[in-house]
């Protein structure tokens, strides 16, 4: 199936911060791929990555890198504010683009990039790698087999983040100029897309209701969170009546990273934390058996998940970064085979639109204010 015109895919990375290591490692696990160039505005950052992975071509200027290294694919792993300009530059230079999440700062930027990619016959994708973990692949397999029995009736996505990880939150709180603080959705903007993107395959493009409510947790308030919001709940309804609930929390313990898809016949629960997929099958039991049998059946499913995970580990499929490797691999396959990209553009755009809508609601389009009290915005907004 491989297009033999491209023997080895030449890959470059722009932005050599923390996440870049994962990209290099993922690329190295994909046969027929070579990371040929690294680029960072701070050349020392490119050099340190190059030194550790034996990549000699390091650049401080993206244009020079594109001209000299001529990569077929560029992974952009800079802060999101640079995504649009850099991706445009790469597409114009003829490279396919993998953009880390969030895809762009705003939905119009996302639309423009996708239009540009399509007009040039190039591929672009978003770093929604959590959609490609083993459990999500299993969920998709079930959905494709019509396990749900029709379009989902309701979806629930929980995504949590531990504020205790001071290595991320510390610098962010200490510096009003930190790039995360400059995003329209601040902390939420940088984390949210994983949880929102999981809903998008099941929602229509036309959303008739989006209601977002956000506040600051007491913990964040204590450690000096200023105007940053870290507790978010969103209710969504699409034109065909599918509803969704999204919860982002820094306070849920133990942390939840969970998706539940309720269909008209059966339902599915996916838990990223334990890598499990539980099928909820419509069955009825007589009398007290309803209290005895379903828990046993659930236990059997959990046991089966544990066995599958052990087996996947032993076979080398279960990897800390399975999601990213799978997504990158699928993206490269789509380039080689000239097939559809792994994440439909419709989903990337819907994720971006939903995020714009949420941030517009919770920050009401006004500049962020200091000493933000717990607040709630509950105005339903129709998106065209």
């Amino acid at each position: 199936m491989l297009n033999t015109n491209i023997k080895t895919l030449r890959v470059a990375i722009i932005g050599c911060g923390k996440i870049a290591d994962q990209h290099v490692l993922a690329c190295r696990r994909i046969p027929g791929t070579e990371v040929v160039a690294l680029c960072d505005r701070e050349i020392l950052m490119a050099s340190q990555l190059g030194e550790r992975f034996g990549i000699a071509a390091c650049f401080a200027d993206a244009a020079e890198m594109l001209r000299t290294a001529r990569p077929e694919v560029v992974h952009i792993t800079t802060p999101p504010q640079g995504h649009f300009t850099l991706a445009k530059q790469c597409l114009e230079a003829g490279s396919h683009v993998y953009l880390e999440k969030p895809f762009t700062v705003t939905a119009p930027e996302a639309e423009e990039l996708i239009r540009l990619a399509e007009s040039r016959g190039l591929k672009i994708t978003a770093g929604h790698n959590l959609q490609f973990t083993l459990e999500m692949l299993e969920m998709r397999r079930l959905v494709a087999q019509d396990f749900l029995g029709g379009k989902p009736v309701h979806l629930e996505s929980h995504f949590s983040y531990d504020l205790g990880d001071a290595s991320y939150v510390g610098p962010l709180l200490g510096n009003r100029n930190h790039w995360v603080r400059q995003l329209p959705g601040q902390l939420l903007h940088n984390i949210l897309s994983h949880g929102i993107a999981k809903l998008c395959p099941f929602l229509d493009d036309q959303l008739v209701e989006v209601v977002a409510s956000a506040h600051q947790s007491a913990q964040l308030q204590r450690i000096g969170g200023e105007e940053i919001l870290d507790e978010l709940r969103v209710l969504i309804r699409d034109a065909s009546g599918t509803t969704a609930f999204f919860c982002f929390s820094t306070q849920l313990k133990p942390g939840m990273n969970h998706l539940r898809i309720c269909g008209p016949v059966n339902s599915i629960s996916v838990d990223h934390a334990s890598g499990t997929v539980i099928r909820h099958i419509k069955r009825s039991y007589k009398s007290y058996l309803t209290y005895f049998v379903p828990p046993l059946k659930n236990a059997k499913q959990h046991f089966r998940n544990a066995c599958l995970n052990v087996s996947s580990f032993l076979k080398g499929r279960l990897h800390q970064d399975s999601g990213m490797k799978e997504l990158v691999d699928c993206f490269y396959q789509s380039i080689r085979n000239q097939s559809a990209p792994p994440i439909p553009y419709r989903e990337i755009l819907l994720t971006a639109r939903l995020m714009d809508e949420i941030f517009a609601q919770i920050y009401q389009g006004k500049p962020a204010v200091r000493a933000l009290p717990a607040r709630s915005t509950t105005t339903p907004v129709q998106t065209p």
């Binding site: 870049a20 290591d21 190295r28 950052m45 290595s167 200490g174 580990f313």
Partner: protein, 350 residues
């Protein structure tokens, strides 16, 4: 005030990481020595209780400047370095990622050195590094580790981001010394302990698997009590004739890992531990490393031969250079240091 110092008591001194475990003690000793023009650089999100308590104890502490900022910002570095004669650079990148450690160690140091050199009144840049930069992979067990020993040449293989950050930081400092004539001194403290730091050094053992595995055994620990370490750092910024020198910082009397753990268990808390000899630990770390390589990082190489050697192989240590060149003597002997360290466990952790 010792007239042999390279600066006078009124010259401005900058201490980065001044609210940290060692940094606050450095500030205290500088005030005790009679320096009256201190600038304490802190992260904007820092809680300054420790530093403010020290500053309040000395008349000159009340006029000390506290500057909040980010060393990754060149502008903040300029504010910090303006008019400064000596920099004590203790701020450290403790991030687990290599990029994060590099950024907060090497890039931050580069920015600070540039700002320091720009402003003209440069007397000395004291760079606080760590024992983590050494590699004893090719050294025999129990061999003497001093300032001339080999540095780690594969921090990625050791899976040690902190070591990588510190190595690169040192490399830049030496480069600035050679190319831009920055007068510098590098200090490499061993395992710094004292009240305010409750955790056990990884050189003693690990509790990764739910119980404590004692790996240090009869190895000597490169201990340095926080007051002793801070005084070595202070002297490195003041003594003439040591530009371009590197000093290991360990105390005179060193305990073995077993002695340290025994004292800790008696006073701090009693817990179950298993002692694993080095040859077994090394073999297990090697097997882990091989599996990790074979499976392309399916298990991250957190245990590997380089780490086993660096932390648990065991060396002897010397502070002769510290005594000879800086005239350093430990202010607190090991008995009193251990008593002070262990006394913190009489109070619950805050």
């Amino acid at each position: 005030m010792n007239s042999n110092y390279i600066i006078s008591s009124a010259d401005r001194i900058l201490v980065t990481g001044s609210n940290g475990f060692i940094g606050a003690k450095v500030v205290e000793i500088l005030l005790e020595y009679g320096f009256t023009n201190l600038r304490c650089f802190v992260r904007p999100s820092s809680k300054l209780d420790r530093l403010q308590k020290i500053l309040a104890q000395y008349p000159a502490g009340k006029t000390a400047e506290i500057v909040a900022g980010d060393l990754l910002s060149r502008e903040d570095c300029r504010r910090a370095a303006a008019g400064v004669s000596v920099v004590y650079h203790l701020a450290a990148g403790m991030e687990k990622s290599f990029a994060g450690a590099f950024m907060n160690s090497a890039i931050a140091t580069r920015n600070l050195m540039d700002a320091f050199l720009e402003q003209g009144s440069v007397a000395r840049f004291v760079n606080v590094s760590s024992f983590a930069v050494y590699s004893n992979l090719k050294m025999a067990r129990g061999a003497l580790l001093d300032e001339t020993c080999a540095l780690e040449d594969a921090p990625q293989e050791r899976h040690d981001a902190y070591c990588f950050g510190k190595l690169k930081q040192e490399e830049l400092v030496r480069q600035y010394g050679e190319q831009r004539k920055l007068p510098y001194v590098i200090l490499r403290p061993g395992a710094v302990f004292g009240p305010g730091k409750r955790s056990l050094s990884g050189r003693v053992g690990i509790d990764t698997f739910g119980f404590f595995i004692h790996l240090g055994g009869g190895n000597q620990l490169p201990l340095t009590y926080v007051d002793n370490c801070a005084e070595a750092i202070v002297l490195a910024g003041l003594k003439p004739g040591v530009d371009g020198e590197i000093f290991n910082v360990v105390d005179d009397e060193l305990l073995t890992s077993s002695e340290f753990l025994r004292a800790y268990k008696q006073r701090a808390k009693s817990f179950f531990s298993i002692r694993v000899p080095f040859f077994i630990a090394n073999a297990l770390c090697g097997a882990w490393e091989d599996f990790s390589k074979k499976r392309q990082g399916q298990l991250p190489p957190v245990f590997n031969r380089r780490r086993a050697a660096a932390e648990w192989k065991g060396n002897r240590y010397t502070n002769q250079k510290l005594h000879d060149r800086l005239g350093w003597k430990p202010r607190v002997n090991m008995g009193n240091a251990m008593a002070a360290f262990l006394s913190q466990y009489d109070q619950p952790a805050t």
